[in-house]
């Protein structure tokens, strides 16, 4: 006890020290997502190397770093361009909504184009890059810059002779930038097998970010990875990023902590009997619902029911369709009695129909983010999820969906997804990727029996609520989805005409039974009647006999009386005084 006591003490002490240890000062980039990955931004007052192949967005990342710094963090910046002229740059980034001219006029940003042309430079001995230093120093001092971008300094190697001198000078430059206390981004072209063509990563080693632009199955995706970040933890994954009209957005959603608040409110599924199956109330608000089923089992119909119900409650629904156009969906749903057009007209329902191949996965994700942020729906429908899977990009799709689900959950939006299962694969296989993220999972399947296909519905899982374990048959009627009674026969659940046959058979059996009972009752009655008659007959006979016996008794009595009378008369006639002897004689 005594020995072990000091140990925890020292531990807490060291932990406390860790806790109070100052974090590496960071310079926020203001780029959506990048600050999350890097834990606050790029290392302050240190150079950061951004490398990548042609057209992967190095210049843009650097430019956004400067513009955001100037507009959001009050840190003016110097952009030293070695490849593009100031005019070209201004025009190029104007398409992303950055007004460089204005920032330059307000002295928030300084653009300097360094023109290096090998052909009109003659080398006549040793030189150094002091001119560049002076120029950069002058630029930094003139606007009080805190941020510097050198884009792409490697082009000096093409313009100036003697790489050895250049290397030494660049090393000196990076050190000088550090001394200056500016946060710098140095961009470099990706080399063959190494990060940069000239091995700049040897000199700029505080933070290295690699950008990548690759094409998989005809769709391109951009990725960003923090290769190294001295003195700080950072996300190490490859994060997809996008360049759109608002600049760069990196999507590090996988790094989000699982801390979303959940609602215990319930929302109707739009189908009363399905609500009943889910503990009588329907889905949880903000949960994710997956309906999977083979082709033609009615997944979209359930989605339509749900959107209809949500709109009835006055909620907004965003419907992403990846295979059908809005008018097609609405026409099809009209056929089962669900009218979505009024909700669209009211502005409660918004359709977004796009082919999955329209853009890369990340572009889709960001588009969804944006639409969701703009429309602020209470429910989002994705129909169907798995149309994104083309070839072997499943892992990418998984991560995309995962991030989307997290995003929806964090926003308390009920997500409703449909997923087509190919019949050749088992359910667990096809949905294993996202099943863990799904709260309520309904399975629709076609039941083949007796020469027909019928639709069955089962609740595969539903977190946090009591739910029915029954496989239910449902019909798509002209007033929507209709769940039938559970009909369990000798060989499992009966569906379709088998169910009808069974029902008919049962009815017949019931009728027979009823008839039998009636027959028995009649028979009983008849027996009863017969018995009654018999009893009556016997009684009548009895009556007859009784009458007879009475008559005989009467006769006998009369005879007896006659005799007594006779005797009496005889006694009288014989003048006998023994009346008392009479009964005795009679009884004898």
């Amino acid at each position: 006890m005594n020995k072990s006591k000091p140990k925890p003490l020292t531990r807490t002490k060291s932990r406390r020290q860790n806790h109070f240890r100052p974090q590496l000062p960071k310079s926020p980039t203001g780029i959506q997502g990048l600050d999350e990955i890097t834990g606050g931004g790029l290392p302050k007052a240190r150079p950061t190397l951004v490398c990548g192949g042609a057209g992967c967005g190095k210049t843009l990342l650097a430019m956004e770093f400067l513009v955001r710094g100037a507009t959001q963090f009050h840190e003016p910046g110097v952009f030293m361009a070695f490849e593009e002229t100031a005019k070209d740059l201004t025009q190029n980034v104007a398409s992303l909504g950055f007004d460089l001219n204005d920032l330059i006029a307000r002295k928030r940003i300084l653009l300097d184009f360094v023109y290096v042309e090998r052909s009109d430079i003659e080398a006549t001995g040793e030189y150094d890059l002091e001119g560049l230093f002076i120029r950069l120093g002058q630029a930094i001092d003139s606007i009080g810059a805190k941020r510097v971008v050198l884009d792409t300094i490697e082009s000096l190697f093409g313009g100036l002779p003697d790489p050895l001198i250049l290397r030494a000078e660049l090393r000196r430059l990076f050190r000088w930038l550090k001394d200056k206390g500016v946060t710098a981004i140095i961009t470099a072209e990706r080399g063959d097998g190494i990060l940069t063509r000239q091995g700049l990563e040897e000199y700029v080693s505080d933070c290295v970010i690699v950008l990548d632009h690759r094409v998989n199955d005809q769709t391109s995706s951009r990725r960003l990875r923090v290769v190294k970040y001295r003195g700080s933890t950072h996300g190490t994954n490859e994060y997809p990023f996008l360049i759109d009209e608002d600049g760069i957005s990196v999507l590090p959603v996988t790094s989000l902590a699982l801390q979303h608040i959940v609602s215990s409110k319930r929302v109707s599924t739009g189908i009363a009997r399905l609500d009943a199956m889910l503990g009588g109330k329907g889905y949880y608000r903000g949960s994710s619902v997956l309906i999977s089923g083979t082709a033609g089992t009615g997944k979209s119909s359930f989605a339509a029911h749900f959107s209809d119900a949500a709109c009835r409650r006055g909620e907004r629904v965003l419907y992403f369709s990846f295979e059908e156009s809005p008018s097609q969906i609405m026409r099809n749903m009209r056929s089962i009695g669900i009218h979505l057009q009024p909700w669209v007209n009211k502005g409660l329902l918004q359709f977004h129909a796009q082919r999955p191949s329209f853009a890369g996965l990340e572009a889709h994700l960001v588009m969804k983010h944006k639409l969701i942020n703009a429309f602020k729906p209470q429910a989002v429908i994705l129909d169907p999820l798995n149309s994104f899977i083309v070839g072997d990009n499943e892992i990418a799709v998984q991560s995309m969906l995962m991030r989307l689900l997290h995003f929806l959950k964090a926003k308390q939006i009920t997500g409703f997804f449909t997923s087509l299962i190919s019949s050749s694969r088992t359910l667990e296989e096809s949905e294993s990727s996202i099943s863990s993220l799904i709260d309520t999972w309904l399975l629709l399947r076609a039941v083949d029996s007796g020469g027909e296909r019928n639709r069955g519905l089962a609740v595969l899982k539903s977190r946090g609520m009591a739910h029915s374990n029954q496989i239910r048959e449902f019909l798509l009627t002209d007033h929507g989805v209709e769940l039938r009674d559970v009909y369990v026969g000798a060989s499992g659940v009966l569906t379709g005409s088998a169910r009808l046959t069974q029902e008919a058979q049962d009815q017949a059996v019931q009728m027979l039974q009823k008839q039998e009972i009636e027959r028995r009752q009649i028979e009983l009655k008849r027996t009863h009647q017969a018995l009654e008659a018999h009893i009556a007959a016997l009684r009548a006979e009895f009556e007859v006999k009784k009458t007879e016996s009475l008559r005989i008794t009467g006769q006998e009595q009369a005879q007896g009386a006659q005799l007594a009378q006779g005797r009496l008369e005889m006694g009288v006639s014989r003048e006998e005084d023994v009346t008392a002897k009479n009964p005795m004689r009679r009884s004898k």
């Binding site: 300097d112 360094v114 023109y115 290096v116 009109d120 430079i121 003659e122 080398a123 006549t124 001995g125 040793e126 030189y127 150094d128 890059l129 002091e130 001119g131 560049l132 002076i134 120029r135 120093g137 002058q138 630029a139 000096l156 100036l160």
Partner: protein
Amino acid sequence: MKAKRARPVQPKVTRTRRKAASSLYILKLYVAGQSPKSVNAIANMKKLCEANLQGRYVLDVIDLYQQPQLAQGEQIIAVPTLIRKLPSPLRRIIGDMSNTERVLVGLDIRSEA
């Protein structure tokens, strides 16, 4: 662009060259303070000009530490840089001018042969 212009004006070039031999040279030498390279470059240039362009040259030595704003305007990166303003076209020579032969060729004072 340059090549295109050079072709038709070829005879002219020879003329300017002939003229150049007698025309005025305006040279600007950009240096950075008193660094060894700068000092060497100034000394080398002065010697070279005296030897080859006596009486028809103007050599301006500009210290970028004193006038840093000139670095951007003149597109100076490397130091020392010598710019031949006249006769045109503009020529740019970097280094400490220790290789006299190359400087002379660069300034078109002597042909490369």
